[in-house]
Every structure is written in C-alpha cells, then in structure tokens.
Amino acid sequence: MIEEKYFVSITINGIEYQENVSPDLTLLKFLREHLGLTGTKEGCGNGHCGACTVIMDGKAVNSCLVLAVQANGSHVRTIEGLGTPDELHPLQKAFIEEGAVQCGFCTPGMIMSAKALLNEKSNSEEEEIREALSGNLCRCTGYVKIVQAVKRAADYLKKKKKDSSL
C-alpha cells in the first residue's frame, strides 16, 4: 500500500517548516523526530498527561493528539521558543526561583500551559492557575511550587509591562 504524503507548512517558534508528511504523523512526532525539538515530551500518547503541551495558534493543546496535517498553516510555540539564549522567559525564571522544577520532565508542558493562561489572563488567581494546569500531570513536585511559580511569573510580566509602558 503506497502511503500518500501531504505537504504541510507549520510555523514553529517563528520559523516556517515545510515537509511532505504521512497523514498519521502527529505534531508531537513531527517536533521531536523530524525537527529534533525534544523539549516537548511524550508521557502517555493519549492526551492524558500534558507532557506534550504546545501552544498552537494561541491555544494550549496536546501535540500527541494533533496531526501534522491538522497543524498545516498554524503557528506553534514550543518550550524552545521561550526566552532568548541570553535571557529566560519570566515563566522559566520563576519556575527555577520557586523550586518548581525537580526531575523536569513535566516542566516544558507545564510552562506552555501556564504561558497560554498568562497570555489570556495576566492576573490569574490560584484557582484559575490550578484549572489551567489541570491537564498537566506531575509526580515529583506535588504542584505546590508550580502554582506559585506561575503567580510569580504573572507578577514579573505585569512589572515588565509597566516598565515598558513608562
């Protein structure tokens, strides 16, 4: 059986990637295996752990449940697209400062879910943060410091906004 390939163009972290892919290739596999962007993780393959979370067209999604052909024409942001080589994104900074990183495997997915939240609601209450992260499992941290890190990051972003508007 000859498998048909389909042309996709997906912008990832600001760079457009074009490739002919099989229809059953997931966005997760595309990122990890075709582009070597292994920051996004696979923990379950079925949308039940959130380790594969990326931001697609502004929304947090499980990349293991998105087909590359579905992502054709989309803008995707992964953990690699956060911060610059010289400076960490406030979320990354806050996660380190609050001790929200232990084994670090859930961290990229957590940060992307948090980023999606803060993009929409810069002033998030603890309850909202918990709900926004309720699709991301962590076994090491007990979530306590992760929630606090997101709050801290929100403060950083607010301050940055204020500083830049001055």
């Binding site: 059986m1 498998e3 048909e4 389909y6 099989s22 229809p23 059953d24 997931t26 393959g45 079925n46 949308g47 039940h48 959130g50 979370t53 697609m56 929304k59 947090a60 999604v61 499980n62 293991c64 449940l65 998105v66 087909l67 052909v69 579905q70 879910s113 999606a116 709900e131 926004a132 309720s134 699709g135 991301n136």
Partner: protein
C-alpha cells in the same frame, strides 16, 4: 496507527461525496476522540475527512427564537462565549467539565456528541486485545461485558449531550439530499448505534432560546476533578413559565437517558418549589434510573457508587433549579 489518505474539503457537498464514495472513511473534527482510538488500532480509516476548512461549521449565530452553534466550534470557545454562559449555563458548564484545557481547545461540539462509546474491553491497546475475538464495537459478534447481549453495551459518556437534550436541541445534518433537521434524541438508538448514515455530517446544533426564568444546572461526578470521564453526569433544566423540567443523565447506558417519567410526574405537580418536591422527585428519578440504566463493568467503579453519586448530584441539581 495508519491513515492512508487525508482530505480537507472546503465545501460540505464535497465532504459528503467523499464520505459516500469511500469504503472506510471517517469524519475528522478535533481528533481528540478519534486519535486515541486509532492509536489503539480500533479505527483504521482509509481516509480521514477533515472538516476544519468548512467555514460554516465554526459559526455561532443568534436568531430571534433560537441560536445555531456550528458543530466544529471547539469546547473552549463555547465556555468563553458570554451569551451562551448566560443563556445556556448547563451547556457551558458541561463543556467546562470536559477533560482538560488542552483537550477543550481542540475538541468540538459535534465531536463530543458523536464521541465513541467506551468500555474496558474496547479502549485497550492492540496488544492487550491480542487473542481476543473482536466484539460488536470492533465489528465482531460478541459482547464481553454481557455475553448474552446481541448488541454492544459500551457506555455513552458525553457531557454535552445531556444539557443539549434537556434544552431540546435540534441537530442540523448535511447529507446527500442537503440539509435535514433531527431532534437530538432521535440520534440515539436503543443498542447504542446512531441514526446517521456514513455520508451524513453533523453540521450544527439549534438551541431554542429558553423561556425567561429558566434555571439550568449541569453536574458531572468524577473520581478526579480533571481529566476523568464521568462516573455519572446529568443536566436539569427547569422552565417555570411552562412548569416543565428536563432531566437527562449520561454515563448510565449506551445512550443518554431522559428521565421522562419523572419529568411527566413533575408537570402534574402544583406547588413545585419546595423541599418535599425535591425529595419526591429525587426518589422518583432514582427509581426511574434504576429501571432504565444499562450498566457494565468499569475499572474501579460499581453500580452502587454510580447510583450514590447520581443521588447526590440529582438532589443538588434539583435544589439548585427549584429552590431559592
């Protein structure tokens, strides 16, 4: 998992034609229900017909007497719509309680209604099911849950169908003859199958605007507060103007259950906003559910637990819609 072909028609007629002419085609909406099934080797379509380019399917239109929600509207958008939140709170709460934020960003209204039923013998990897003859849901000839059954007994877990039914939604379906409408209840057959031909596409849902002073509640009982499928879910919609109540329950049978006897008894009552009425209705509903439920063995759950959760949820829902 293997899909051979992928189609993205921009026109509904084109979509219907592809579905009609293919031997093994499936409609691909958000993918959050279908992809895990394909990963498990439970679905191996020759062609996936994606609806993401069909523009009319992502609109929410407001009419004088009703609204229309396109079937490809994702659940997150539903929850963010202020008008829907105010007018159809049970529907919005049902959407909020689906899975996780990531899934809600991809999952669609149509996909949630048409989601595949679930069973612990079905939702297993290929390797786990190795050596087992296929069951009804995999086009086989037996049910592992209830050996005497002549049809699949897998349960229907949709969150959104319960309030849609309670709100008396009407489905818009596009087929070979163009547009058709169907009351949402008519979609489901006894036996769990659906009244949708292979080439028919669910394109929209019409919701009649509720009477003013309508109170509606959705409750989902689950083990964890996130990610989980429901232990039981229910929607209660009470329209005081016409003194009618709609009570629909999910995750208790291969299809959603309208507690019509209880609804009927309610309409014959005079003074309904009392604690006694809540008590009476709760008992009635419990007995009716006992009659109508068709349960199977679920992982870590049993009938007692499901019924107890239902009891608590229903009482709470009735209190919320009937009492001050």
């Amino acid at each position: 998992m293997s899909i051979i072909k992928w189609a993205e028609p921009t026109d509904l007629n084109e979509a219907v034609a592809i579905l009609n002419n293919s031997v093994n085609a499936i409609i691909y909406a958000g993918g959050t229900d279908i992809l895990p099934l394909m990963n498990y080797g439970l679905k191996s379509p020759e062609i996936c017909v994606s609806l993401r380019k069909c523009k009319s399917l992502t609109e929410i239109e407001f009419g004088e007497n009703e609204i229309r929600i396109g079937s490809m509207v994702n659940l997150a958008s539903l929850t963010e719509n202020k008008f829907l939140k105010k007018t159809f709170p049970a529907l919005v709460n049902a959407a909020i309680r689906v899975a996780s934020p990531q899934i809600r960003n991809m999952a669609t209204l149509g996909g949630n209604i048409l989601q595949e039923r679930r069973c612990k013998y079905f939702n297993r990897s290929k390797r786990w099911r190795e050596g087992m003859d296929p069951c009804f849901l995999i086009n086989g000839d037996r049910c592992y849950q209830i050996p005497k059954s002549d049809h699949c007994c897998a349960l229907y877990y949709s969150n959104l169908t319960a309030p849609l039914m309670a709100y008396r939604a009407v489905l818009e379906i596009w087929g070979k003859e163009g547009l058709q409408k169907m009351e949402i209840e008519k979609l489901f057959n006894y036996g769990g199958t659906r009244n949708l031909k292979k080439e028919e596409i669910l394109t929209g849902i019409f919701l009649p605007l509720p009477y003013p002073k309508t109170r509606a509640v959705f409750i989902k009982e689950s083990i964890r507060a996130s990610l989980d499928f429901p232990v039981v879910n229910l929607a209660a919609v009470y329209s005081s103007n016409i003194k009618k109540i709609g009570i629909v329950v999910g995750a208790m049978a291969p299809y959603p259950l309208r507690l019509s006897d209880t609804e009927e008894s309610f309409s014959r009552l005079i003074n309904v906003n009392t604690v006694d009425v809540v008590k009476t209705l709760s008992e009635m509903a419990y007995e009716e559910l006992k009659k109508k439920r068709l349960l199977i063995s679920e992982v870590e759950l049993n009938t007692n637990q499901k019924m107890q959760r239902f009891k608590g949820a229903l009482k709470s829902a009735l209190e919320q819609v009937l009492l001050n």
